[in-house]
Symmetry: C2
Subunit: 704 residues, 2 copies
């Protein structure tokens, strides 16, 4: 990609050529030219069409090369087959930015896919940045640029939107015009052969006209790059994303617990969380949040004040506050006194404040102002229903004035239809977000609070160990030499030890006597396991014995194992028997990793056994991550209280789990050839006692 | 309550008196009279006001008693203090139905509460049914009756709505007028001193003008009565309820696990589920469902066909289908052939069917019709975005025609703003529910499918045991005789045994020799426990011993217990020692019950130990319930797979758990004096082996 070329040409071109402009109303090539001419764009607009003299009053050129003067941006609407030659014309003309509206590419079968690859290659070769193909185009409201075939353009605002779906973009534009939602930039990038999510995030990162970025995406080209850029951008402005197609998990053979529990949804959720991206669950929520972030700043904390002129909706807002993870602010005495002084006796002076159904605009706003002044209140939800004495528009006006005086966010809920229309319009104009239902206002406020918390997080601590790299490579080499991708127990131990993880003491014995000697050195009880790359399920054929209590049992076990293994798997290569320390005490947890096709290494945490297998009570992060996320992974599982010492038990060594998570995070980042791994169980002692990786499975890639 | 008087007078009065009608526009008493005169009501309307000759052209009477001819309904808007005397006037005039709009009752402090009680008593005494006080009033669209002070009246339709909140009712009316949602009856019952939820359910049960009942409630007067009536009504028509105020759990001292886990939310959810009531989580969802049920019948099953003219929204609908617990229908070969024949090659012929962005109304409807004809499809979600070739209104018209030809429900999603306005209006007129976002259409369809399943459920099997009632009463009596509300172990055993539940064999020993004799009879190992009503935490002072293996250990344990208990609790009354069978094998579960203030006995199920205490993985039902609900209680917990034999273990005896749940359900119904109980653990053997109630706590009410 020609990284040096920015995207300014797309948003601030001085002259634009519409290649494939059509004389016929109803055609896409006509609609785009019309939009370019009627949107208020002050630069030059050149229709290109070999069969017309002029279109919509503008002189028409047969080829873009024949336009006099420079052209900054080409909007291409010719049939797919002609796009490539038009691209060459663009190069000849010195154009470095093209929007390819034309369909007939990746979305249209094998031939289209080949054409799209050609287009991508050509764009790189010619040094032309491309938005599209198969897209709706671009809008920039500040200069009236409307290079789309949509009907109408939203008003100017500070939301910038990108959409992978042109149809959804059309619907959103139409809806935004009706609702009065203002945009700065609007990009439908279609198949995204070149310009995609990451480029647009970068373009809008320092764009002063963009206060909030919203996106509809179905997938990402480069997960790690997205995370890096999103993390950087979301430190400056909120990014709200609807990601669809979530429930279609890719069918892929997996052999680990982690692999079977990790899906694309988990990876996206983790990646978004780790990069500060706010995930909206629907386009409805996307709108709610776009408006909230566009108009108001996030609250300092999670304490909400509610003012209402009706009990029922007040209760609904209160319910929503608890469900959304916010809390009702406990008001200062001063506030309560002030409310008591001016409000009727039957009012509710405690949060939620009910100013009663006969409240006029003055009484309502008085209460709202006192809530905003209260030091315990971080944000306000203002509910108004259309009652006998309610003057919605006057209330909206006074409320908006109060909001403008305060630094705290106010989200309004004016319930009703035509009675509220004027008030809603007024609030929108004065930049007070207004919703039809209390729940939606509260949920938007909750996401704003989360975003504020993200902004205030200190950088995560990345603790790195210095691994014994040679040990890891030797283990991988040993498996590969035998054509295996699954590491044997000895090899897996080597890898863990190379990263300083504690494993049970163990020794290989080739005879009963040697086994007994090892066992005595380790100390009883011991565990014994057959060593054979050919036997996958050792315990099924008597290849595992636990709780061996003395020398005699050790020798007996050795001989019995050899006997049985020879009997049941006569072909198996035997490399002796493992004599291993038996880790008695400790809580069993699992730490694993798998590779997500989009984001790469994904690390999982859960409690062992049924917690993982039956309850699927696990948490995920994309590696690498730091200590804060490792701690959160532990807190996120439902069974976390068991580790913290629920039911009178002693707390487990959380620090040891955090350390293991960080080590695994580093390991799978250092060695991308690790495809899957499970440390299962990791036996965790009481606080301060550490953790031991009792068993581990590691699968590496077939070839490097 | 004068049960014999129905509610017809409220909805179909021939003549109405507005008592407190006002001459002043802006006053509630004026607004109601105006609404009564302008809504199209053809009966007589009499304003009552001692200070006016006529209002709005109608002759005014000083008292209702002076009206000539009969009056069926009084709408009372006089100040609260005058309501009681007006009620007496009504009686004198022979009026049996009154709507008390006036505020100043329960909602207005102690004095108001006293007044409300007087009003309730007087209503009963005079035989007048009362809607209100502190309410918005009543509408009935079929006869143009508008006895409210709201602005405007929704159009005629088949939704009947009741609301506990007048303000919310106002907002809903205003919004419904704007959206074109049609109603049959609309009742704001305010404080509900007489007519409440149950009366209205009964009134609308066989009302031919009501196809769906929707309700906003904050609480219920009589839970069991509500359940009984709702169960009966929901077998005829859907009841959709928004219940708010859910998160405010009542603070109440509880001693059992069940008590600490059961909240008002759990009780409402269980009660609604058991009576077929569909719970909407917000007023937004209430609207969605009102429209869906009003226009379309529920689908036969959960298989959904999706047709879309755009990929992105199709994916969003698909995601929503999975999240909502529906499934994408696998289409018949015939359907796929038909689609291939007429649709462009680039279309998606499999569900979701994408007819592409350039589809006209004909192509779109062709696909929709074939989906509707497909035997694998139970319902259709039809998504339309405003693209270049889309004619939304024509598409809406043809789609509506296709919908009318089919018995399967179709829920539409026309995404966009003004481009879709006409189409949306058209669909509403033709009774095709239409939503702005795919998720909302899908979620409404899912609730419809659930309702259909409810309709088709056979009656639940209620299996009753014949308890040894005397045994229970003796146990309760023994505790009460000592001033205790907590039953001792011996007493709790007696109660369980009286209902045929298996308990471990056990005997009381008064000496070491006797203990040894019992133990030998029971068979080792045994459990021993001190018997004393004064010692709550027996194990803390060495009062419990498990795993006693022989005669000598038994005798030692007896003597040690006596010694230690005398030392640590010298005052405690000792009644000997329990020698008990040790139930070794089995999965530990908990079956408990608590009393909900609204719904009465609530039964809980969960796995023992951490599953209940830490994971709070439990399910609830209101007792009494039958076998189907008992089975569902088991299936609902996340850890249910453990009982079904996850991880290669043998399945537990589910039938034995079902039986225990049913017995407890019956027990707490038979004996309302049981306030709380836990059987914890109930040890459940493998399938066919039964279950044993190893330990139980029962708390009874302080006095009967």
């Amino acid at each position: 990609m020609p990284e040096t070329v920015g995207l300014q040409q797309f948003f601030e071109p001085r002259s634009v050529a519409v290649i494939g402009a059509s004389t016929k109303p109803g055609k896409v090539g006509h609609a785009i030219l019309r939009n370019m001419l009627t949107g208020g764009f002050e630069g030059e607009v050149h229709p290109i069409n070999p069969h017309a003299e002029e279109i919509l009053g503008r002189p028409c050129y047969p080829r873009v090369t024949e336009v006099g003067g420079e052209v900054d941006l080409a909007v291409i609407v010719v049939p797919a087959a002609a796009v490539l030659s038009v691209m060459r014309d663009c190069r000849e003309k010195g154009i470095t930015a093209a929007i390819v509206i034309s369909a007939g590419f990746k979305e249209a079968g094998a031939e289209g896919l080949a054409r799209e690859r050609q287009l991508g290659g050509l764009a790189r070769e010619l040094g032309i940045r491309v938005v599209g193909p198969n897209c709706l185009g671009i809008m920039s409201t500040s200069n009236g640029l409307n290079a789309t075939f949509a009907e109408g353009m939203p008003k100017r605002g500070n939301v910038s939107m990108m959409s992978q779906s042109g149809a959804l973009a059309t619907a959103i534009i139409d809806w935004s015009i009706q609702q009065g939602v203002g945009y700065s930039k609007f990009v439908s990038f279609g198949n995204g052969v070149d310009v995609g999510v990451v480029d647009l995030l970068r373009a809008w990162e320092d764009d002063e006209e963009t206060k909030v970025i919203v996106a509809y995406i179905e997938g990402l080209a480069n997960g790690p790059e997205f995370m890096e850029v999103a993390r950087q951008v979301s430190a400056k402005k909120p990014i709200v994303v609807v990601k669809s197609g979530g429930t279609q998990a890719g069918a892929r053979a997996v052999s680990s617990h982690t692999g079977s529990l990790a899906g694309s949804e988990q990876a996206y959720n983790a990646a978004f969380m780790q990069s500060g991206v706010i995930r909206a669950q629907s386009v409805e929520e996307l709108f709610d949040l776009a408006v909230a972030f566009s108009y108001q700043g996030p609250p300092r904390g999670r304490s909400v004040g509610i003012v209402t002129n009706a009990g029922g909706p007040g209760i609904m807002a209160t319910d929503a506050v608890e469900r959304a993870g916010l809390r009702l602010a406990g008001l200062e005495q001063e506030t309560i006194h002030a409310l008591r002084k001016e409000l009727p006796e039957a009012s509710n002076f405690y949060n939620p404040i009910d100013v009663l159904g006969d409240a006029d605009a003055e009484r309502y706003t008085y209460a709202a102002e006192h809530l905003l002044r209260d030091r315990n209140v971080d944000g306000v939800v203002a509910v108004v229903t259309p009652q006998a004495m309610t003057r919605p528009t006057e209330t909206a006006e006074r409320l908006a004035f109060a909001v403008a005086q305060s630094k705290k966010p106010v989200l309004a809920c004016f319930m009703g239809g035509s009675a509220m229309e004027e008030a809603v319009e007024m609030l929108n104009e004065r930049r007070v977000p207004v919703y039809l239902y209390p729940e939606r206002a509260v949920e938007a406020l909750a996401k704003m609070a989360e975003y504020r918390e993200w902004l205030e997080e200190p950088p995560d601590e990345y603790i790195r160990v210095v691994p014994y790299t040679q040990g890891v490579e030797r283990a991988f080499g040993a498996a590969r030499a035998e054509g295996r991708v699954n590491l044997g127990e000895v090899e897996a131990r080597e890898v863990l030890q190379a990263y300083g993880l504690r494993v049970p003491e163990s020794h290989v014995a080739q005879s009963a006597d040697e086994a007994a000697a090892h066992a005595e050195k380790i100390g009883f009880p011991v565990v014994m396991k057959i060593i054979s790359p050919d036997i996958l399920h050792k315990s099924d054929i008597g290849g595992v014995r636990v709780g061996i209590r003395d020398r005699q049992e050790t020798m007996d076990a050795y001989d019995l194992m050899m006997l049985r293994v020879h009997r049941y798997a006569p072909e198996a290569v035997l490399r002796g028997v493992f004599v291993q320390e038996f880790i008695q005490a400790g809580r069993e947890v699992i730490v694993g990793s798998t590779r997500d096709p989009q984001f790469g290494p994904l690390v999982m945490f859960g409690l062992g056994g049924i917690y993982v297998e039956v309850l699927r009570d696990v948490s995920f992060r994309v590696a690498p991550f730091g200590a804060r996320h490792a701690r959160r992974m532990i807190d996120e599982i439902r069974s976390a209280p068991l580790l913290r010492g629920a039911r009178g038990e002693k707390p487990s060594d959380i620090d040891a789990i955090v350390n293991t998570l960080l080590v695994v995070s580093q390991m799978v980042t250092d060695f991308p050839q690790i495809v899957e791994m499970d440390i299962n169980p990791l036996k965790v002692g009481e606080a301060g006692e550490g953790a031991v990786a009792v068993d581990a499975r590691i699968t590496i890639a077939e070839e490097e």
